[in-house]
């Protein structure tokens, strides 16, 4: 397989171009702190949505506990950087590894369940992790963990997002990814064809949790402080909504969904009393009129076959 195809080179150039452009604009001051804040939120949401899309969209496992992995990552990184004074890279690594370990521990028993039962079990695990956080004094209990140093910057954010998209989209296109998709399409048929369904379900869960952990670390080290309530049931729902809105099984869909819903959400900050009501109505309208999501399971292509933005996320 050739790595240095025209398409890949274009993609790399484009990725670096966007990186330096934004870096330049923030140094000049055109991108102010408000836009930066929103960029961080969008970036974190993209990582969360793409990683949940691997679990729910591609492997077809209905998880309502994705925020729990983010919580584990956030707390792991918070403890590492704030309490133990480690550099950010250690925080991110520990966050990702501990979240994926949690994914493994939660995945092995629960992934025997199917459909709604799996959803409820993952919801239960999410709540249990939140309650443990609420009652653990070492991490501040309900008050939360304070004084986390701010290490998350544009470089960390951008390359984490790119890495997530790159790794997951390549995973999905690989042999293992196709095994995951076959589970979504028909679990019994996949099993009959010799796909080790349990193994691939857990694998998808662990990889998804790994990136959710990274998202948690970025979150913790940007907002200075974290508390368990941030990572409750509603956060899991928010992530799920991004995935469904963008289109299950479409990575570009998740990106588009994360951007649009983050923009809607920050726009609605202007109506604090009715914000959630309007959000609920929007959700409802999306589900009624576009239940397959903005992108369906298609991928967005900027240029056609010869290369372009979709180089790392092109369709199946």
């Amino acid at each position: 397989m050739k790595i240095l195809t025209k398409k890949n080179i274009y993609t790399l150039v484009l990725v670096l171009l966007i990186y330096f452009l934004v870096l330049l604009l923030s140094n000049v001051g055109i991108i102010d702190s408000y836009i930066q804040l929103n960029m961080v939120i969008v970036g974190i949401n993209i990582i969360l949505a793409v990683s949940l899309n691997l679990i729910t969209g591609f492997t077809g496992q209905f998880s309502l506990g994705h925020a729990a992995f983010m919580a584990i990552g956030a707390y792991a990184s918070g403890i590492m950087t704030a309490k133990l004074g480690q550099p950010f890279i250690v925080g991110v690594a520990v966050a990702a590894l501990s979240a994926s370990l949690a994914g493994l521990l939660i995945g092995i028993p629960t992934l025997r369940l199917r459909g709604d039962y799996l959803a409820i079990a993952t919801l239960g695990f999410g709540e249990i992790i939140k309650i443990i956080g609420l009652n653990n004094d070492y991490v501040g209990g309900a008050i939360g963990l304070n004084d986390i140093p701010r290490y998350t910057n544009w470089t960390w954010l951008y390359f984490s997002v790119i890495a997530t998209i790159f790794i997951i989209s390549n995973f999905v296109k690989s042999y293992h990814g196709r095994a995951c998709i076959s589970i979504r399409e028909d679990e019994i048929a996949a099993e009959a064809m010799g796909v080790n369904t349990t193994y691939y379900k857990i694998l998808a869960f662990v990889i998804g949790a790994f990136f959710a952990g990274i998202a948690g670390a970025l979150y913790a080290n940007y907002f200075y402080f974290i508390k368990p309530d941030t990572f409750g049931f509603m956060k899991s729902i928010d992530i799920l909504v991004i995935v469904v809105f963008g289109g299950m099984g479409s990575i570009t869909g998740s990106i588009v969904g994360a951007v649009i819903l983050s923009v809607i959400s920050s726009f609605l900050q202007g109506f604090p009393e009715l914000r959630m009501v309007i959000y609920a109505v929007i959700l409802f309208l999306i589900m009624v009129y576009r239940p397959q999501g903005v992108m369906g399971d298609k991928e967005f292509k900027l240029f056609n076959k010869e290369g372009g933005l979709s180089g790392n996320v092109s369709s199946k």
Binding site: F62, R112, D116, L123, V244, M276, V277
Partner: protein
């Protein structure tokens, strides 16, 4: 020992409320396979209607309870018609998100109208306490009311489901929707009846909880809603006696855990029980095991 008996009494009251709500979950899930996340909000609305009736209109306990049940059953039917009916043929995940959207809409819509402040229920029941077996464990009149109302409503439900035509239709649709339509059952009407009955039970639970705990707020439905759903799953979703058992079991377990000093972990215990039940007996304690067919 006294302490223990007292906790059992409290647990049964809490369990009655979970059981009433779990019935609605289990019926709705049985018939359209949807986790009705808005069910906890119907319970909240029921509590507010009861509050309004007793505070502003000076209704007694029973008129307030019955009127609140009627209004919440209407609300349930409207929710079904407006929000769930268009989603009947879409994916499970879309239907689930719709249910969550309805739940958020009711929570925050209510918050907009009644403000987020906590309100306290008026004392409409006489103040009588009976001590049990000559010990210090007391049974409040409210415990008795809650248990009595719950049992009466459950008997009524049993009657409706097993002896009336509507109940027969509900059971038929739950068993096989398409086949029951071929037999001439009006599925839409049956689903509406299911929502009406389930919501009425949730509304009753709302009024009872208002009287029992005295405080209500617009977000009160979220956690009990999840707990009631857990109760329904523990008993075996779609199985009515299972929901009742699950509700009482969860209520008693929760109060006992609190009494043993684990009040901070009582929610975690509920979820842990849920996961344990799902792993050991995925169809619930009373559920029948169905093999998945190709």
């Amino acid at each position: 020992m006294e302490h223990f008996i007292q906790q059992i009494v409290n647990g049964i009251s809490l369990g009655s409320i979970y059981a009433l709500m779990a019935l609605g979950y289990t019926m709705v899930y049985g018939i359209i396979k949807l986790i009705n996340f808005a069910h906890g909000e119907i319970y909240m609305v029921g509590a507010y209607i009861g509050y309004a009736l007793t505070t502003f209109f000076n209704f007694g306990f029973f008129p307030a309870l019955i009127l609140s049940m009627i209004l919440t059953s209407l609300l349930g039917v409207v929710i079904e018609k407006v929000a769930y009916k268009p989603m009947r043929n879409s994916t499970r995940i879309a239907a689930l998100i719709t249910a969550i959207a309805v739940s958020m809409f009711l929570q925050y819509g209510m918050m907009y109208f009644v403000t987020p402040q906590t309100r306290s229920y008026p004392n409409i029941l006489p103040d009588i306490q009976v001590s049990l077996f000559g010990t210090n464990a007391v049974v409040d009149i409210r415990n008795i009311y809650i248990l009595t109302v719950t049992i009466v409503l459950m008997l009524l439900l049993q009657y409706v489901i097993h002896k009336t035509k509507t109940g027969k239709a509900m059971r038929a649709v739950a068993l096989d929707g398409d086949a029951s339509q071929l037999m001439g059952i009006d599925m839409n009407k049956t689903i509406s009846y299911t929502f009406a009955i389930g919501s009425a039970l949730a509304g009753a639970a709302g009024v009872l909880v208002g009287i029992y705990y005295n405080t209500i707020n617009p977000l009160m439905g979220a956690v009990p809603g999840l707990k009631a759903f857990i109760a329904a799953v523990i008993g075996g979703i779609g199985v009515i006696p299972g929901a009742v058992f699950g509700g009482f079991f969860l209520g008693v377990t929760e109060t006992v855990v609190s009494a043993l000093g684990g009040s901070l972990y009582k929610d975690a215990v509920a979820f842990a029980i849920l996961i344990l039940v799902l792993l050991i007996k995925p169809n619930g304690i009373f559920g029948s095991n169905q093999r998945e067919k190709v």
